[in-house]
Amino acid sequence: DAGITQSPRHKVTETGTPVTLRCHQTENHRYMYWYRQDPGHGLRLIHYSYGVKDTDKGEVSDGYSVSRSKTEDFLLTLESATSSQTSVYFCAISGTGAYTEAFFGQGTRLTVV
């Protein structure tokens, strides 16, 4: 299994509070992604990174920010959590090359009350 861990695995927070989710990899892969998964929506890309300090927005980036100060860590921050951000969040990593296969973490279940 690819070395990718997410923390925390579960979190309940109150509306308006900041929340940071962490993704850590030991594979030295270039690309790291944050997705959210909601019923009926599959995976939706929030932000991704293609290198240290190199990030870009995905399709549902509003209300989220990311940082990647080291190759192995990719942080997702909800500046002021809202109930609409209740979801399961997945981190993924992928390398370079023609077959850009992704490996996923176990997911973080976030509930905003």
């Binding site: 929506h41 599959g42 995976l43």
Partner: protein
């Protein structure tokens, strides 16, 4: 923005039946992958196809990449309850290694 549309969105069939799910796009992809996700877990890669027209078999699963590299299909023969899950396709465009995921097909096999 590259979009991958999967169909059907939901599929429920009896054990032993055959089924096909589709992944379609208007964009051309250098490679396309299929993943399966089980409840409470992250998606896991099943296969990667890289050549237009390519067919790959994984036991009872057959994957095909369209000749024009814009679409793919997954055919399951004699479906079993263990095939139940969310199936996702994902593609990478030429010159862009970022993966784009499809909308997913949620498959339920009824014993």
């Amino acid at each position: 923005t590259q979009l991958l549309e999967q169909s059907p969105q939901f599929l429920s069939i009896q054990e032993g039946e055959n089924l096909t799910v589709y992944c379609n796009s208007s964009s051309v992809f250098s490679s396309l992958q299929w993943y399966r996700q089980e409840p409470g877990e992250g998606p896991v890669l099943l296969v990667t196809v890289v050549t237009g027209g390519e067919v790959k078999k994984l036991k009872r699963l057959t994957f095909q990449f369209g000749d024009a590299r814009k679409d793919s299909s997954l055919h399951i023969t004699a479906a079993q309850p263990g095939d139940t899950g969310l199936y996702l396709c994902a593609g990478a465009a030429f010159g862009n290694e970022k993966l784009t995921f499809g909308t997913g097909t949620r498959l339920t096999i009824i014993p």
